[in-house]
């Protein structure tokens, strides 16, 4: 974001010093994040989505699967803000209820993929040698299945449903995490203080978790945020193909799949669930971009 770059430029003289305690570092990070307007917008959007997902379902007056054939395919009105679908269900209500699915896929799959990928990446980078070669070759193999293809292959084994989509998207994000964490680990391993801790006789596990992990944290956080956006896109795509969450689930991709036969004549059926996906993905993308600007020392120049 351009506004992000201009604000990071203003803050050029400030540089995080490594010796600063964690709290101070966090404050400094928060300070820089606050200056990045775009990142703030992204952050607020994410908070908004979480509120919608948690509180929203209690506030809607219509049932999520309340079928009403006397009111089917009605255009947006004051009563049905986003109109009704081919079964007379209120689209606005369904989108509110679908928010939880979307966030759940995003958070859970990235959490699972992130943990596995980070462990593999750290082990690979820290130990190097044969372990590194084996792990990274395996990651190369997973990466040979581009984009949604890996998720499709996994779904074809596990079968298409909501849980399997989370698993598929988690596996799909492992190699990305492993590569990024390995890179940062390699750089950290060479730092003098790691040698010092080693000389003091610290165990590998202690070095990895206490000394290396905190150093790979910032690229990890940035990647996680951006990966959530990718996960949401992939999962909604799988549901749209009928291989993810199944109708009548109000998952947004499944809503698009469900209304496919009607959406060309009744545009709003496709418009609103799609806009909801765009909003969610945008929120995480903006926030991730902002985090990168705030955390990446290179962008501070």
């Amino acid at each position: 974001m351009a506004s992000g770059h201009s604000s990071t430029e203003e803050m050029a003289p400030k540089k995080i010093k490594k010796e600063r305690p964690a709290v101070r570092a966090f404050k400094d990070f928060y300070h820089r994040l606050k200056k990045n307007k775009a990142a703030l917008v992204g952050g607020y959007l994410i908070i908004f989505l979480i509120l919608v997902a948690t509180i929203g379902p209690f506030l809607t007056t219509d049932g999520v699967n309340e079928v009403n054939y006397t009111q089917k395919l009605e255009s947006p009105s004051t009563e049905n803000w986003f109109g009704t679908d081919h079964q007379g269900r209120d689209i606005f209500t369904r989108i509110i209820h679908g928010t939880g699915y979307t966030l759940l896929v995003g958070f859970l799959s990235v959490l699972m993929g992130g943990i596995v990928g980070t462990l593999l990446g750290i082990v690979s980078g820290y130990y190097g040698g044969k372990i590194d070669t084996v792990i990274m070759r395996f990651m190369d193999i997973l990466l040979a299945f581009p984009g949604i293809l890996l998720a499709l292959a996994i779904i074809s084994i596990l079968g298409g449903n909501f849980i399997n989509v989370i698993i598929a998207v988690a596996i799909f994000s492992i190699p990305t995490f492993a590569r990024i964490v390995r890179g940062s680990t390699l750089a950290t391993r060479e730092l003098e203080y790691v040698d010092a801790v080693k000389a003091l006789g610290a165990k590998d596990s202690r070095i990895i978790f206490k000394h290396i992990l905190p150093n790979v944290l910032s690229p990890l956080i940035v990647q996680s945020t951006l990966q959530i956006a990718t996960a949401i896109l992939t999962a909604s795509g799988l549901s749209f193909l009928g291989l993810g969450a199944q109708p009548p689930s109000p998952e947004w991709g499944a809503m698009l799949n469900d209304g496919r036969n009607y959406m060309l004549d009744y545009g709003y059926i496709a418009l609103f669930p799609g806009l909801a996906i765009v909003l969610a993905v945008l929120a995480f993308n903006i926030f991730g971009d902002g985090l990168r600007d705030a955390l990446d020392p290179k962008s501070k120049k």
Partner: protein, 306 residues
Amino acid sequence: MFKFVVRRLFQLIPVLLGVSILVFAMMHLTPGNPAKILAGQGASAEAVANMEEEMGLNDPIIVQYGNFLYDAVTLNFGTSWKSGLEVSKEIGPKFVVTVELALYSTMLSLFIGLIAGIVSAVRKYTLLDVSIMIIALFGLSMPNFWLGIMLMQWFSIQLGWLPATGWGTPEQIILPVITLGTAGAAVVARMTRSSMLDVISQDYIRTARAKGLKEGIVIYRHALKNALIPVVTVVGLQFGLLLSGAVLTETVFAINGIGGLIVDRINARDFPVVQASVLVMAVVFVFVNLLVDLTYKFLNKRIDLD
């Protein structure tokens, strides 16, 4: 250079073997007995046993894999469980369509992305730059299948300018290619912009300017050449993403490509076709990446080939 190419080709072998093992494993990891599926519902135990024998399911796993690998290398993927046709014959023409779609979309995303990125970098922090970057962010955040539906609604249904489905005529190609190429264009634009900004801040550009060269020459003759190097690396990745993204685009526009085929056959549990399609896509992607790698090394003379 030749030595480098040969070495990179050798490095592909473990990856390709790994890919083949994973694809081979797909069928064995799937719950349910494939012989039972193939023999049909209500087949007698004897018929299933015969089918198992015929399919080689009783052979040791390593023999089965060996056969699979041999068949794959000779492009013999067996017959489809659904249509009864030879898999390679079924996949072949469809694969051509998908590659066309991905190729055109890659070209579109490169064309739009490069122009947008260069303009953004040259006019950095202006309204134009901000607008381009905001559009790019939206482009990145849109599900391509939804963009496809929206374009179809507008240009096919409302305006009636372009056909809504199919593939082949120039009119039919426009909407799917825009649908698939938009996200790629966004990625390329962002990449080009940041790469250009990196290069422009370097000393040799300042020298060029100090020499009194015209700004246009500085940008296009001196900066662009080096700024494009990192962009090349994303092109291969983009092509792969677009190849798999075609699965969604093809579904929206009812295009008879390999993506639509995969989805159809996953639902029909037609494993030979799914396996072969996934395998072919992955192998093509691996080789495209090799090509990109070689181009990259060729462009960037500073990298030591050995």
